[in-house]
Amino acid sequence: MLELKILTGQRAPSKPPTYEINGFEIAFDEMAGSLVPGGTLELKGSPQSFPHSLALLGPNEGYWDIERIDATYYSGTDDHYTIRLGAVTLDGESKLNLKYDRQPELLDV
């Protein structure tokens, strides 16, 4: 399962986003929060397939300024990891890569 927590920046799309796995567009299973400038949107999707590619599709009309995304990936009952992504702008010609493996832990040294 994939969970996204998205903080929107100045421009927000008018329609809910969809995502793409292995080239196929799918709607999210659950959506909560708000899709407005400065709002936080929470999305859940269950692709039920190994992703060779995974991406969040930009809005077909207008722009979506994303300030931050926390993407959490669940591969088992308890096994999960989170990737934090920074600012990016999406539009009708772009899609944001969401395929990330578990990152090695960082140590303060």
Partner: protein, 262 residues
């Protein structure tokens, strides 16, 4: 629970139902481009952020380390730029002593295979005979870098910068290797390597054809391309792969047996 495939099919059916179905056989010319005319979306990447945890290390220089046990490698990420406009790589203690006091300090700490200094990062690869890299190794290297910087010792020497070839010379040297050695060698796998940019002595490449998305592309890059590049252009610093491997449409290998991954 519906599978993703069922959702895709449902989605397509819903689109078909909700779209207007012509009730006559009259053909209507539409000015709207059809969906098939729409170009594929461009895959973009957002910068990856580390956690916002506060370092417990004091001493004025914050350093985070990422350990890659498979590659016997430690990436040390600093809170400041070490080099701007150029990068430094060496695999010999003597070269480090001659051109980079910081790399020489690191070679004194461990038996190293190579040191790369690029922007805010130091990538240290341990020698094959060394025990597995661990947290203690990373801490020793981090402390050595911190002490070096706090003492305000130089990262590289003036001599290194003075001997640096121009970007055109580096580009020509690398392109000659690509044309005469690398691309003919990987043509059997329908692969190609393109030199996309040279900035300072940092080179950017893209892998195409059978190399794009290939599970062995990391091996090709590190053991083939990089080795040839460094022999031809000894002053080459960082070598960065800009390939979007997820967009590969005809990779030569789609999978490797466990333990063979780059």
């Amino acid at each position: 629970m519906r599978t993703w495939f069922a959702k895709v099919v449902d989605n397509k059916i819903e689109q078909a139902i909700t779209s207007e179905i012509p009730t006559t056989t009259e053909i209507v010319e539409s000015s709207e481009p059809s969906l098939t005319d729409k170009p594929p979306r461009r895959l973009v990447y957002a910068p990856m952020r580390t956690s916002a945890s506060v370092s417990s290390i004091t001493g004025g220089v914050r350093i985070k380390a990422r350990i890659d046990s498979n590659d016997q490698c430690v990436v040390l990420m600093l809170d400041r730029h070490l080099l701007s406009g150029c990068s430094f790589w060496c695999d010999q203690r003597a070269d480090a002593a001659m051109y980079s006091p910081l790399a020489a300090t690191l070679f004194e700490q461990e038996n190293l295979a190579s040191v790369l200094i690029h922007e805010m990062n130091v990538t240290v690869k341990l020698g094959p005979s060394e025990p597995f890299v661990n947290d203690d190794t990373a801490r020793r290297l981090g402390q050595a870098i911190r002490s070096h910087l706090v003492a305000e010792l130089p990262v590289i020497t003036e001599d290194y910068l003075a001997k640096m070839p121009s970007e055109d010379q580096i580009r020509d040297g690398l392109q000659e290797v690509i044309d005469n050695e690398i691309n003919p060698g990987i043509a059997n796998h329908s692969g190609t390597i393109t030199l996309t940019a040279v900035k300072g002595n940092t080179a950017y490449i893209k892998m195409g054809g059978g190399c794009q998305g290939c599970a062995a592309s990391g091996i090709t890059l590190r053991q083939g391309v990089e080795t040839s590049f460094r022999i031809a252009v000894p002053h080459l610093g960082a070598l960065l792969d800009e390939t979007d491997h997820t967009a590969g449409t005809n990779p030569f290998f789609t999978d490797l047996h466990s333990g063979m991954g780059a």
